[in-house]
């Protein structure tokens, strides 16, 4: 057991020494920069997720009455809507409330004051299910006293679809750059094997097993991957911090406190571990391919 541990410690030590030479650090940087693209994209998408999730949850229809409609007409319409089984939730927004909401938004009070009167109609906001939304919107548009029907679900669905496409694109990018990581490691390990050629040959002559010879290279690939993953997470965090400085100025001007959230710790850890795994894989493929070429003789 202690022999086994000693051999692993020795292999790790060798890998660390080789890694800290320029080539190992440069490879880690290359890997880190490549991986920061999908990791950064993932972080941005994660920031959008609460918005898309809320929008897609329940399709909404906004129903605007004609401006001259009487409150009694609105109440009658409300009764009728409540009776429709396709309507899940119904909320009446009187024109006074709508105006109050609007006045809370930066820049609007002046505009409304200039108009001199409330330009807003009474409205209903109702939620329904995804299958009924289009038919319901069409039916509502034909009711008397209704000026305009807007099915929010359409653009909500589009946004969700866009987010889905973006997510798929990110996975493709991650797959592509992950393969790049394996290739980079494959190549640095190949070069490392070539520079250690004499040592490998001598090791084979004095009775080193293949596992013994492979071990430092496996560790080197793992280290390079882990370091690359850490660099990627670092780049993403730095980029988000930089973005947040600008975003906060913009968001405050809209009265919002929006900030990009950093990668959750679990996700950041997953990026680092996954990069380490790919580094190990690249080293494994390289060692298997190139070690047999070096035989004493």
């Amino acid at each position: 057991m202690s022999t086994w541990l000693r051999q692993h410690r020795r292999a790790l030590g060798q890998a660390l020494r080789r890694f800290t030479k320029a080539a190992g650090l440069a490879s880690a940087l290359v890997i880190g920069i490549a991986l920061s693209l999908p990791a950064g994209g993932y972080a941005l998408l994660e920031n959008l997720r609460p918005i898309t999730a809320r929008l897609t949850l329940e399709p909404q229809i906004s129903l605007f009455l004609q401006p001259e409609a009487k409150r009694a007409e609105a109440e009658a319409l409300g009764e009728r809507l409540r009776a429709d089984p396709r309507v899940a939730k119904l909320r009446f927004v009187p024109r006074e409330d709508a105006l109050r909401e609007l006045q809370a938004v930066e820049g609007f009070p002046e505009l409304i004051a200039a108009l001199g009167r409330n330009p807003l109609p009474d409205a209903f906001v109702l939620s329904t299910n995804a299958t009924a939304v289009n038919a319901l919107a069409a039916d509502l548009a034909g009711l008397p006293g209704v000026a305009h029907v807007q099915a929010d679900a359409v653009w909500a669905r589009r946004l969700a679809a866009l987010a889905g496409i973006a997510r798929l694109g990110l996975w493709l990018l991650a797959g592509l750059l992950g393969s790049g990581l394996v290739a980079v490691t494959f190549n640095t390990i190949r070069l490392q094997i070539l520079t250690q050629r004499d040592e490998i040959e001598v090791s084979k002559l004095i009775g080193a097993t293949d596992a013994f010879i492979r071990r430092p290279f496996h560790y080197l690939g793992l280290l390079q991957g882990l370091a690359g993953g850490a660099v990627a997470v670092g780049i993403v965090c730095a980029a988000l911090a930089l973005l947040n400085r600008e975003v906060s100025v913009l968001a405050e001007s809209y009265g919002s406190s929006f900030r990009f959230a950093f990668l959750p710790l679990g996700d950041a850890l997953a990026v680092v571990l996954f990069a380490g795994l790919l580094g190990w894989l690249g080293a494994h493929l390289s060692v298997n391919r190139h070690l047999r070429e070096i035989e004493p003789g």
Partner: protein, 216 residues
């Protein structure tokens, strides 16, 4: 310890290095293999260390059939052999001490025991005072002695040397051979290939002479 019976070795190019070679080396023996360059001396030693495999016939080393040896078993065979090469195969990126330490990296010795063995091996070849030097600073004879120290640090029962005295002056060559004789005197089986017939004649040991791949 080593037994060849009707061994032939043909290289991929069609060149026949060994033909119908049969001999036996007993435990504790010291034998020389002589012959001109190209006579098959190196091939013969490579077969013993499983660096090459016989085309036909059987090579038995310490009870193991080299022709049938699995790839994974080769390292364990070599750990019981001490190999010394004409070109020493030292590593110039580390000290004399670390070169001699190499074979102990995969042994089960404690670091303390390993250090003791390395110093003992360096002492036997007269290099203990140079343990911190780089092999490049050593003379040809000293480099060859370091190669011997590395070969014996694991205390193998069989020591094989391919032209260990080539490129050395007579005095250095004689010193190298004295070291091999000393190991043989404590029970190590020694097999040395050399083209220098004059040098080996004065030891009165067994000589296997190879001529064009056959034992003459």
């Amino acid at each position: 310890m080593v037994s060849f019976s009707s061994v032939a070795k043909r290289y991929p190019g069609g060149q026949e290095a060994l033909r119908e070679v049969s001999f036996m080396i007993s435990e504790g023996e010291l034998a020389f293999i002589t012959g001109r360059s190209g006579a098959g001396k190196s091939t013969l030693l490579k077969l013993i260390a499983a660096i090459e495999r016989p085309t036909s016939g059987s090579v038995i080393v310490k009870g193991q059939n080299i022709g049938a040896l699995k790839r994974a078993a080769i390292p364990y065979l070599r750990r019981n052999l001490g190999l010394v090469f004409q070109d020493q195969k030292l590593l110039y990126d580390r000290s004399v001490y670390d070169n001699a330490m190499l074979p102990l990296a995969f042994s089960s010795h404690t670091p303390k025991e390993a250090a003791r063995r390395v110093r003992a091996a360096l002492d036997k070849v007269g290099l203990l005072a140079r343990e911190r030097s780089n092999p490049i600073q050593l003379s040809g004879g000293e480099q060859q002695r370091l190669a011997i120290a590395r070969a014996v640090v694991n205390r193998p029962s069989l020591l094989i040397a391919d032209e260990p005295t080539a490129n050395l002056d007579a005095e250095s060559a004689a010193r190298i051979l004295e070291i091999f004789v000393a190991f043989n005197q404590v029970g190590v089986t020694v097999l040395i290939a050399t083209h220098d017939q004059g040098l080996v004649a004065r030891y009165g040991k067994r000589i296997l002479r190879l001529e064009q791949g056959r034992i003459a």
